[in-house]
Amino acid sequence: MFFGLRLLPLLVAGLACPIPLHAAEDKGKVGHHDIVPVMQLRCTVCHGARKQEAGLDLRTPAGMLRGGESGPALVPGKPGESLILKKIHDGEMPPRRKLVAVSVKTMQSHEIELLTRWIELGAPMSEEKNDEGMVPEKKERDFWAFREPVAPEIPRFGEDGISSPVDAFILQGLKKKGLDFSPMADKRTLIRRATFDLTGLPPSPGEVREFLADKGQDAYSRLLDRLLDSPRYGERWGRYWLDVAGYSDSDGGQNSDPVRDHAWRYRDYVISSFNKDKPYDRFLMEQLAGDELAKPGTVPDAVLTDNLVATGFLRMGMDYTFANITGFVPDRIEVIDREMEVMSGTILGLTMKCAKCHDHKFDPILQKDYFRLLAIFKGAFDEHDWMRPRDGKGGAAYDVPWPTRYLPVPGAHRQWKKKNAPVEKQIAELKKDGGEEKNKEAIKALEVKRGPEPLIRALWDRGEPSTQYVLSRGDYRRPGDPVGPGVPGVLHSRKDSYSPEQPWAGAGKTGRRLAFARWVTRPDHPLTARVMVNRIWKHHFAHGIVDTLDNFGKAGSPPSHPRLLDWLSVEFARQGWSMKAMHRIIMTSRTYRQSSRVTARASGLDPDNRLLSRMPLRRLDAEALRDSLIFVAGQLDEQSRGGPPDVIEDREDGLVSVPRGGQGWRRSVYVLQRRTKIPTFLSIFDLPRMDPNCVKRPESTVALQALHLLNDGNVNQLADHFSQRLMSEAEDITSRIRLAYMLALSRLPSDVEMREVSGLVRELENRWQHDSGEKIEPVALRKKAFANLCRILFNVSEFQYVD
């Protein structure tokens, strides 16, 4: 739908023969901006920034004139005497049989013609055009999401005892339909709801009892304090951020889906940032421009480490450029495009990617805006000076120095080196005189002893961005005008000019992303706060106020409560961008504390619950469900943070599972997150494959889920552990059933349930005795019957759905 009729003629022409725009517009004129892109595509990998084969640097006209060991590459006005054309015509350059190794394709005939013509004309410079961003007309900008949020007046409902502004806005909506809030949920429902919401786990029986017994006025607010202070909070809410960041422990793109070492540091960074309630503006600054925030040596190592690890946000995307055959310029551009898609959707709530090939169809975002955005990131993401995702070695035979994407962990790396100096020496000794092959085993053993090198998968500006061109139709073969860095015109007000500068003297960085991060985190930014409070709201109420979480543009869904959204956004920035403050505001509201029961009236007047006439009934997501099984079975390994991630096992028949570690199982967020081989349990409960990220998880209800919870070996193991726990923590059948209910459902069984469940346990014991055909000891028999009961509790709706 974004490729409208208007572009069709261009599209057809583009397929036949992609000619640079300048030349297409005016056949006579050829300037250096027509030639530089050709050099970048075909030549500069060996004659450019990282390598000057034969002393030749073809990045600029000056470099071409200067030439290399064989003299100048060109003679202006004399194509016949220009070395570069001679080498091309002779088929010597670019060297055909080496092309694949350096991920370059052959020169196209029109490129050669263009180069010839340019030399004929005397190798002139292009006219420099005004590169100002365009500001769309006022009526285009006059869309709610592009205006800065202003705190609205709060509706007054004194007589209803409404004190929370959240409730005031919600009640206003309900009253319009003749509705009111549902009754308050009971305390047992509240503690279960709040505990799952903030920690992704059920409350323990002790916590439930304590809360029910606490008659204090502030019992609920103290409950929230305790939950927000729990390290499990970051594991729950950090995971939501990892979804939108597209966190992955693998590169994807190829069948091998190679594991990405060190990515887990970013996962830990996110979890600990949430736990520390790092202000959201700081959180974004670090992720967008951590490398430009502080000069090394001027801040503690821990801060510097956080800054650098945070930039992993822009390194999460699928990336198959580690291989020659999938590492061509268009492949690299795709990697960059995906990062831009994630960044703009997640932080700005804008579908900027739509403007790659043409001006945005719905929003006042110009194609030029997209390329100005790319120029902001060019110092770090440069398709013509690429850093491969895997290692620093290039095609060995051609000695192309692909730079590495890893940085040493400040401080820790030094210590690691110091500690391992003797081992390093031993390794070097063994490698000497071609001993590498002979002493392979010994070297390997020493490397294991040395331990993994503390490295960070980071993104950083290298200060030498190549020129960014507007690509016609987004086609890398059709470069148009050059553009400089800039923010989308529609969001660019006069008071916030975007002006990058060196972050510190001698930094060797453009500062472009730092300026961008500052602009994004302005308290009056129209989108930043809105997008994040909306996401927080979504995870409490199942729907966002704006339902399209990553699209606040005109094609997104309109906000159900625009003034509430604005009030929350202003409040967010006012409270120092504290996410925990937002949770408190939302969770102490009456809106949040309503019952989830649906009356016929509410269902009729508010069918989708967009007005929040009740709390939505919510299903546990994949992680919360799996973690809860582990938790109630008493098998949760509480180790937080730290890599490498928990490994997975994949079986020939396709079952992917997580084996038990020494202390049980760690939470699902710590399991290896590849793009393939997603643990079966998590995948059938809708843990998505990250591609490039996940804005909103789908919720499916399929028979495979039932089959898995009933028949899976791992789940069975957990049912056994759960049963064992009941055996050791309670004495008789009644107290065991009571404990099982408290652990799994945070409540005691009713008298009827108690009767039925005890009857079931006895029947199960009889069955086991009868059907297994062998004598089973009474103790073992009871444990088996209880394991069945545990599996039943794992499978009931009440376990999986939170009121």
Binding site: M318, A600, P607, D653, S700, V702, S772, S797, Y801
Partner: protein, 473 residues
């Protein structure tokens, strides 16, 4: 049972959002339709010519000029150098040899007189039912991206495969079986593994469900631990009882009824899936027709027969894969290609004959093809001998075929150049090919869409795709 309460369009919409179409979802939907009175979508768009598809995917890139596209000119030019003309198109330039003729003889078959290589004697008997497309091409010469293109239309991973799109659009005819079943080779998974049948951004229930040819057909269909059957029965009954009580206290929550229905479906599927895979129900003569009695063709034959049993039961899209990528004949073409045919020729022909005699071929579309074709030049091994040379990948030409469900028999569409290097006449792209398959199922490829982040995604993406009308009956 099931959806009670409000009957409000809103809540129903919500419900379908989580349940719509496909694997179990689709099955559940058909089960609900009578009561809710809602249709999942506007599909099909027009009268379908085929109800089901059996896709015989030939991993590796079968060599068109050695099977279906004879090139006398190549025989004449045998031994001449050609590399310089195609340098950018060769994946392994260092091994590129001269032009190489086919090691096999071709002869004409059937009333249509179609030329088929001597290595496919069984398929040669079926040519009057087949439409051959000699002018297919793709856009990448590496297996991984080419496979993604063949299955999802684009070279990026993570996009829905054609089977998922069909499941999403049409669901299953059988409420107890998934709409999209994959029969992969017990030997080795194809390149890209399970990503070949992924649902991508479509709801996960549309991903292909692997049925294993032996043992429990579906993952976790049976308990992975020893337990008397009656105990499992007790468990399920008690779960149903507790769920029902839970739901009664929470009226007007359609997701809870959907969840209960999914448990009922799980139990039914257990029976039906096992039945579909029980080949003991087949006559000896049928087993022999598929070559199941012969060692080389037994494995593929068994899967072809299971495919027939699945479409008989209403499965919408059955996809067969072959051991890793046996058609990737980089070396020893003569022996290697013969080996591939010994494994698949009789089973494939058996499937066509069996479908036809049972009247199933009329509404079952059988599709045969790989991810690309092969080059007319030799790929030389270290010995540099032509005798044991193979052929390298070729994105510019390949032959595929379709039979049954609305397809003309005994026709050839399109042509390659004189040496088989590139499709030149009536070229058919992968999107064209996808659009044609959808068309035969009654779906207009431009209108099978899924909105993702504001963009209407489709199998044929933004490519211009044309239904190959010339091969339609």
């Amino acid at each position: 049972m099931l959806i009670e309460g409000s009957g409000q369009p809103g809540s129903r919409r919500d419900f379908f959002r989580s349940m719509s179409g496909g694997m179990m979802g689709g099955a559940l939907l058909s089960l609900l339709e009578g009561e809710v009175g809602a249709k999942p979508g506007q599909f099909p768009h027009y009268r379908p010519r085929a109800k089901s598809v059996i896709q015989l995917f030939m991993n590796g890139g079968p060599s068109q000029m050695d099977l279906f596209d004879p090139k006398p000119e190549l025989d004449r030019m045998h031994g001449k150098s050609h590399f310089e003309k195609i340098a950018g198109e060769v994946e392994n330039p260092q091994a590129a040899g001269a032009l190489m003729r086919s090691p096999y003889r071709f002869s004409r078959h059937g009333q249509c007189g179609m030329s088929v290589s001597e290595v496919m004697p069984h398929l040669a008997e079926c040519v009057d039912d087949i439409a051959f497309i000699r002018s297919m091409y793709t856009t990448n010469i590496t297996h991984e991206p080419a496979l993604f293109i063949a299955h999802s239309g684009r070279m990026q991973p993570g996009l829905p495969s054609i089977g998922s799109w069909v499941s999403y659009g049409l669901g299953s005819e059988n409420r107890n079986l998934p709409a999209y079943v994959v029969l992969d080779d017990p030997g080795k998974l194809p390149v890209n593994g399970t990503q070949n049948w992924q649902a991508g951004f479509l709801p996960p229930e549309h991903q292909g469900t692997r049925f294993r040819a032996t043992g429990a057909p579906v993952l976790n269909l049976k308990p992975a631990f020893p337990q008397p059957g009656a105990i499992g029965q007790l468990e399920r009954e008690f779960i149903a009882k507790l769920n029902s009580g839970h739901h009664q206290q929470r009226p007007r929550q359609p997701r809870l009824s959907a969840r209960m229905a999914s448990y009922e479906l799980a139990a039914r599927m257990q029976l039906e899936a096992s039945d579909a895979l029980d080949l003991d129900q087949e006559k000896q003569e049928t087993l022999e027709l598929y070559g199941i009695n012969r060692e080389k063709s037994a494995s593929y034959g068994r899967r072809c027969l299971i495919a027939r049993r699945l479409v008989e039961r209403g499965v919408r899209f059955v996809q067969l894969f072959i051991d890793f990528q046996i058609w990737d004949n980089h070396s020893n073409l003569k022996k290697g290609l013969l080996g591939c045919c010994e494994k698949t020729d009789q089973p494939v022909a058996g499937l066509l004959k069996d479908l036809k005699r049972r009247g199933l071929l009329e509404d079952t579309l059988v599709v045969w093809g790989g991810e690309f074709g092969r080059l007319p030049i030799a790929q030389l091994g270290d010995s540099k001998k032509v005798d044991n040379a193979g052929r390298d990948h070729n994105k510019n030409a390949m032959t595929t075929w379709m039979a049954g469900g609305g397809v003309k028999g005994g026709v050839v569409h399109g042509a390659t150049d004189e040496i088989g290097l590139a499709a030149v006449k009536d070229r058919v792209s992968i999107p064209d090919w996808h659009a044609t398959i959808l068309h035969l199922l009654g779906i207009d490829h431009e209108h099978l869409v899924f909105n993702r982040n504001g963009l209407d995604e489709r199998l044929t993406s933004v490519f211009e795709a044309r239904v190959v009308n010339e091969i339609l009956a």
